[in-house]
């Protein structure tokens, strides 16, 4: 059974059966804001949000998947019952909050009142988390984060090893390539997704080559290098605050000008937008400016710091996946299209696109939850698969790890005959290495 985007195997539920009502009430109290009160009060049940939701569309317009219904059944009931809910109710909420919503925020653009449903779903997640109801794998990752400062539990020495290896490996392409670790006063502190260090080390090598060509001043920190924030998706707001603080504090310690984020979506949402609030910066601004890789690449190409070999420009049809947290929730859709205009001759935008684009179905923490949840993901991704199919593109660019992996899976499942690439990969294949940076060939 995998209706409603639910996984084949039921996630293991924690044993705890008693509900700590006081804790729920205290979370409700913290979030008892003018916004939530107003949103809850004025929702006129018009149902316009339903068609904005890819879960709803991908499951034959099942009315139970309309955003307003999902929030009514979770946080709505928690508030109405003043937190006096039982474990069975919370289990039902758990299903809705994690497997029927990726917090993509698309519905708030389709609500006549601009009700921010994703924010309310996130509060629902916090409440479930406070009762020990949170996806197991996400919790494991957050444990790693607590213990080691990154969600895969990679020791600092190993990261340094990977960096050294990548620098050496890519010296075949760029002469004397270096990956500076903990360099004080650099312009950019480059933060990555631990997946890169563990599964795609070449991504770090690619970034290093791009920086070398652009003559950039940059560094990777030996701590605070993980830009991801899975506790944010697990509903663990306190740990989510610590996680962003790891990065902010390291950036301040190193005295860098900016924090740079790899091609990862939720990391940008976390560090640039939600992080300051989670980490206690009540003015809502991160203490150090946060820049996404898409923005930096756009600047490099605009300023001619990176040159693209015109011969190598992509001839095949190309489309672009606007990751929710890069485009709608990050505001970077124009920059991405400017980059693509340098790389591809036949660009075909998906419809809808830009800030109105659909989530790939792998967001909100569902991707890192692992293979058990793949069937649900594949159903939810139907909308994205159809969008891609309609463009007839053979190559999909996705500057987000979740989108990248999810669209890769969708390509196989829906036989889309596509390859998925990141900007870094493409640029490294197409950029012109200037003479002085070419390695000596003897």
């Amino acid at each position: 059974m995998h209706v409603l985007g639910r996984p084949v195997r039921k996630p293991q539920m924690p044993k705890a059966k008693s509900v700590k009502i006081k804790e729920i009430q205290s979370i409700l109290e913290i979030n008892d804001s003018a916004r939530i009160r107003t949103w809850m009060k004025i929702c006129s049940r018009c149902g316009l949000c339903a068609e904005s939701c890819f879960y709803y569309l991908a499951n034959d317009n099942n009315p139970k998947l309309s955003p307003a219904y999902k929030v009514q059944q979770t946080l709505g009931k928690m508030i109405k019952r003043k937190g006096r809910v039982d474990f069975k109710f919370l289990e039902a909420c758990f299903e809705i909050l994690w497997f029927q919503c990726t917090l993509c925020k698309r519905c708030s653009l389709y609500c006549p009142f601009g009700i921010d449903i994703a924010t309310m779903m996130a509060i629902g997640r916090s409440i479930c988390h406070s009762q020990g109801l949170s996806p197991e794998t996400l919790v494991e990752f957050t444990e790693n984060h607590k213990n080691t400062g990154n969600h895969m539990g990679l020791p600092a020495e190993e990261l340094v090893d990977v960096c050294e290896w990548m620098a050496e490996e890519n010296q075949e392409v760029v002469k004397d390539l270096q990956i500076p670790i903990d360099k004080s006063g650099a312009k950019y502190m480059y933060t990555i997704n631990p997946r890169e260090a563990v599964y795609y080390p070449q991504d770090i090598g690619d970034a290093a080559m791009i920086f070398a060509l652009a003559g950039e001043s940059w560094t990777i920190p030996s701590f605070g290098w993980d830009c991801t924030n899975l506790p944010m998706f697990a509903g663990d707001r306190q740990l989510a605050g610590l996680v962003v603080n790891n990065v902010y504090k390291k950036a301040m310690e190193l005295g860098v000008q900016k924090i740079l984020i790899t091609e990862c979506g939720h990391a940008y949402r976390s560090l640039a937008f939600e992080g300051p609030y989670m980490a206690g910066y009540t003015d809502g601004k991160p203490p150090v400016e946060v820049v996404h890789f898409v923005r930096l690449l756009y600047e490099y190409l605009r300023d001619g710091k990176i040159q693209i070999d015109p011969e190598k420009r992509l001839k095949e049809p190309v489309t672009y996946q606007d990751p929710c947290n890069v485009s709608r929730n990050g505001g970077l859709w124009r920059e991405a299209r400017e980059i693509i205009s340098c790389l591809a001759e036949d660009f075909r935008d998906m419809s809808p696109n830009r800030e109105h684009n659909h989530c790939c179905g792998g967001g909100g923490g569902i991707m890192p939850m692992g293979p058990d949840f793949k069937p649900g993901r594949m159903i939810a991704g139907k909308v994205k698969a159809e969008q891609i199919k309609a463009t007839s593109a053979k190559l999909v660019i996705a500057p987000c790890h979740n989108c990248y992996d999810q669209i890769g899976d969708l390509g196989k499942k829906y036989e889309l005959d596509i390859t998925v690439r990141s900007f870094k990969e493409l640029i490294c294949e197409m950029m012109v290495v200037p003479e002085h940076l070419k390695p000596d060939l003897n």
Partner: protein
């Protein structure tokens, strides 16, 4: 009954209406200063006002374009709802007599048409509520009741004006339901009459001001 509804009843209704709005707005504002820093941290009036404006015009937002007939009916319903009672000639005489307030008057034939339009668009909204599964599942008794309360003064006003049925009964029901509607606005979801502007401004700040994303 007539004496009460046209005198103290009306005053009570207006007091609760304006007082209710004032109290709701003030208390929400005070709460927001403490709990909603995110609203004030990212103020951007350009985006805030655009966020209101583009939702005040039909078929501008992507959402209303997806359901164009519904959007048309909603706008029609709201226009009739505001214009008819404010500018009806008969009401204007009352405004003038009691408050010395002179508003424009619309001709009675136009008021008649607007009333019929409101009732028809209201019926459309009602039918849509149970015809579309995604709307039906959200709808509770209160939603039907409030739609009924909103339409009832128009229906009874129409009957009274044309003296169809028992005139006095229609008139008393008209005043009673009209006053009930006024009282309901600040305390129910009908509060969107004024809260709409606050939530729209916020999402304008949040999506537009912070990210440059259109919330329409």
């Amino acid at each position: 009954m007539y004496e009460f509804l046209s005198g103290p009843g009306l005053r009570i209704a207006f007091t609760l209406f304006f007082g209710g709005i004032a109290i709701r707005a003030t208390s929400l504002y005070q709460l927001s200063r403490v709990k909603d820093k995110v609203v004030y941290n990212h103020i951007n009036w350009g985006w805030g006002l655009k966020s209101i404006f583009y939702w005040m015009v039909p078929w501008v937002s992507a959402s209303t374009r997806r359901q164009p007939v519904f959007a048309f009916m909603v706008f029609l319903f709201h226009i009739c709802l505001i214009v008819t009672p404010l500018f009806l000639n008969a009401h204007n005489i009352l405004w003038d007599e009691n408050l010395n307030l002179k508003l424009w008057s619309i001709p009675n034939w136009l008021a008649d048409m607007l009333t019929v339009a409101l009732i028809l668009s209201g019926i459309f909204l009602l039918v849509r509520r149970f015809a579309r599964p995604e709307v039906r599942i959200l709808t509770g008794f209160g939603d039907y009741a409030l739609l009924g309360i909103t339409m009832f003064p128009f229906l009874t006003g129409f009957l009274a004006y044309h003296q169809w049925g028992h005139y006095e009964t229609s008139l008393i029901l008209h005043m009673l339901s009209g006053e009930l509607l006024l009282v309901m606005i600040p305390f129910t979801k009908l509060g969107h009459a004024f809260l709409f502007f606050f939530t729209r401004v916020f999402i304008g700040f949040e999506m537009g001001g912070r990210r440059g994303a259109r919330s329409w």
